[in-house]
């Protein structure tokens, strides 16, 4: 079983398209390169809204967090927005501790995030 699985789907909310990325498993320094590569591919599609559903993510370390912050900055530069959904306790902790949750909005559900 892979430590980390990433699933990407194109969706729509009230006529507005958005990209939904579901990250599940454990994200750490050993798979950050792969995570970064997959997220970069999506950023290159220049989505207006990129939503990362973290409900299946049991763990995230600071390297994976850097990958998310990079996505946030890239989207910001091209006029897009990154939103995070449903972080579990361990993931919420690192987001809060590093104040990344003040930079990247965190929502309770994909629907809420899509509604902005």
């Amino acid at each position: 079983m892979d430590l980390l699985t990433v699933t990407v789907t194109a969706r729509e909310s009230a006529g507005e398209p958005y990209t939904l990325v579901e990250i599940a498993g454990e994200a750490d320094v050993t798979n950050t390169d792969e995570l970064r590569r997959l997220l970069d591919e999506e950023v290159q599609q220049q989505p207006r809204t990129l939503i990362i559903d973290m409900s299946g993510l049991r763990f995230m370390d600071s390297s994976a967090l850097h990958a998310l912050l990079r996505v946030s900055r890239s989207l910001d530069r091209q006029g897009g927005v990154l939103a995070l959904v449903s972080p579990q306790a361990a993931v919420a902790k690192i987001l809060r501790l590093t104040t990344a949750d003040r930079l990247i909005p965190v929502f309770d559900s994909v629907a809420e995030a899509a509604a902005g």
Binding site: V29, T30, F59, D61, L69, A89, K93
Partner: protein
Amino acid sequence: MARDGETTQRVPAAQEPLTRPPAPRRDGSGPLPQADPQAGDPMSYTYTTDLAAIRAVVHRYAVQAGLAEPRAIDLVLAVSEVAANTVRHARSPGSLKIWYDDKEIVCQIHDEGIITDPLAGRRQPSLDARGGHGLWIVNQLCDEVEIRSGQDGTTIRLHMALGPRARRS
């Protein structure tokens, strides 16, 4: 040692640090204090890149030691960040030792990497920084962090207090 017939010379006070090993200091240099013998044999684990296994072991021992779940999560994150530095910087496997008694649980991580910044982990890096969050996070999460780094590599000891006096997460 003074040999027979030789008069014992008084060593000037200024030279004492050269002839006597310095007392262990929790925030500075010098050897780490011995692991608490009451705590029994530490659990030992060697790792290369299998950090998920390290996290599972730490969580299991943290719960077994009686650490509350939010703080068990903190300890898992802290150990994982230190072990991630092994994966990033050390060119050899790392080792993890865990022991606990009724007062605290301790995780000790050793690898052959060397930390040159004496203030590593003491300053909060900006969110734009490319690195340096790991040790800062560790310092925020644990009750006490002891770091020794030198030619023999780096040893980091993370302490979490147990029981009613333990800091709330």
